[in-house]
């Protein structure tokens, strides 16, 4: 099986890799680039723990091939903080206790940071819809909604 040479921009840095066709994007990120903030929580594209922002859209990186990301711009949780300044969603999750075990958190942060790019003032219902592809087993979602509202406020 042929390997593919790919280059991506991940969190602003250009990276290259030689990948098997079947390598999943999430494994490129976690195991090749060794950025372990992006997690794997299921096999069936339901949980969203692996969410990254791919060319501006939050996607489940367990359901994209690494080779498909060739030439793409990827942002993971490690890329949210800029110049030592937390992204407002990161702040919001801490301020409003939007996380407990932390396992779903990177995916939630990627989904909600992308939401706020598109919608500066989402309603509770819109936030709930936006995160409905990300499962959380700890928080019961109420504080995640508050965290996003906090971030939205902060970004206005």
């Amino acid at each position: 099986m042929a390997k593919h040479k790919i280059s991506v921009t991940i969190n602003g840095a250009a990276r290259e890799a030689e990948v098997e066709s079947r390598l999943l994007l999430v494994h490129l990120i976690r195991e090749v680039f060794r950025m372990t903030g992006t997690h794997v929580g299921c096999d069936t594209s339901h949980c969203g723990a692996c969410t990254v922002v791919l060319d501006g859209n939050p996607v489940k990186s367990c359901t994209v091939l690494a080779v498909q990301a060739d030439g793409a711009k990827i942002t993971t949780v490690e890329g949210l903080e800029q110049g030592g300044k937390l992204h407002p969603v990161q702040e919001g999750f801490t301020e409003k206790h939007g996380l407990q075990c932390g396992f779903c958190t990177p995916g939630m942060l990627m989904t909600t940071s992308a939401l706020l790019e598109r919608n500066k003032n989402p309603s509770e219902q819109q936030i709930r819809e936006a995160i409905s592809g990300n499962l959380c087993r700890c928080t019961g979602y109420v504080n995640i909604v508050k965290a996003v509202q906090y971030a939205a406020e902060k970004m206005r």
Binding site: E20, G48, N57, P58, Q68
Partner: protein, 289 residues
């Protein structure tokens, strides 16, 4: 969950893709959004030696109305349909359905072409295409059109021949006094339908139903077109009694199987309830009562 090994090929043009498909025949599979295919490969429920990725093929991603036809490129992502003003204002049956497909992250990748072409009776858009009387455009050695009503052959089996790619979906633009609706019941966000009904109809001058199409999701091995029920409606005033009778007829066409979403009996009853609801809403949107 790791897919078995395969070779990945990126097509940069449609001709590229067709050449690759021709070359690898049965061993090749088209990769569009990948939201159904990649999980199947990961679970090793399916395997292909070659994947032909059409994500970068230009000219397959559009939503436009031309000469009385809505044309949607097969690579159009669900998220694009969700944000389309044209769909929201003119095709409420699609606008109803799209936000209920999987979840927002999946809709960022998943395409309408994949949804209608992979032959999963649990997908939502095939039933809608049946109700709308849509036509699918396929490209192989030549281009051909396949009516949705003749497209679905069996579980994961369609009229697409090996070497063919679905390129476009054509939907007749509804005439005035038309209405459509999609009514779906699901256990939770991200799940397939327990049952769902797609209805598209047009009312005549006197308020009677002039044309009707009804499709059912997850009601058998293929998407189900409730032809008898649709025929029954034509020429009748859309009153409660007519709606109830048509819903009953549609439900009679469903042959669901029992699973975690419900028993056969329950699912058939849901097909009836949801058909009635979709009918009422479609009538209302058509400007009837």
């Amino acid at each position: 969950m790791i897919p078995a090994a395969f070779d990945y090929h990126r097509a940069d043009t449609l001709d590229d893709a067709l050449k690759l498909l021709k070359k690898y025949g049965d061993e090749a599979k088209v990769l569009s959004g990948g939201m159904s295919l990649l999980p199947m490969l990961k679970l090793r429920l399916a395997s292909f030696a070659h994947l032909v990725d059409i994500n970068r093929v230009p000219g397959l991603d559009y939503i436009k109305e031309e000469k009385g036809t809505l044309r949607i490129g097969a690579m159009t992502r669900q998220a694009a349909l969700e944000r389309s003003d044209l769909i929201r204002t003119q095709y409420p049956i699609l606008a109803d359905a799209v936000p209920l497909i999987a979840d927002p992250l999946v809709r960022n990748r998943g395409t309408i072409g994949g949804n209608v072409a992979n032959g999963d009776p649990g997908n939502d858009q095939p039933a809608i295409m049946l109700a709308l009387g849509a036509t699918f455009v396929a490209r192989g050695s030549k281009e051909r059109s396949i009516p949705a009503s003749q497209f679905y052959k069996g579980l994961y089996s369609t009229a697409l021949a090996p070497g063919e790619i679905l390129t476009e979906i054509r939907i007749p633009a509804p005439p005035p006094k038309s209405g459509g609706a999609y009514a779906k019941l699901k256990r939770k966000t991200g799940d397939f339908a327990v049952a769902a009904a797609a209805v598209q109809l047009t009312l005549g001058k006197n308020g009677a139903i002039e044309r009707a199409g009804i499709g059912l999701t997850n009601a058998g091995l293929t998407p189900v077109e409730a032809v008898d029920a649709a025929k029954y409606l034509v020429g009748k005033m859309p009153d409660e009694k007519t709606i109830a009778e048509a819903a009953k007829m549609a439900a009679a066409k469903s042959s669901p199987s029992a699973d975690r979403r419900g028993s056969v009996e329950y699912k058939k009853e849901m097909a009836r309830v949801l058909t009635a609801r979709a009918l009422r809403k479609a009538v209302q949107r058509a400007g009837g009562n």
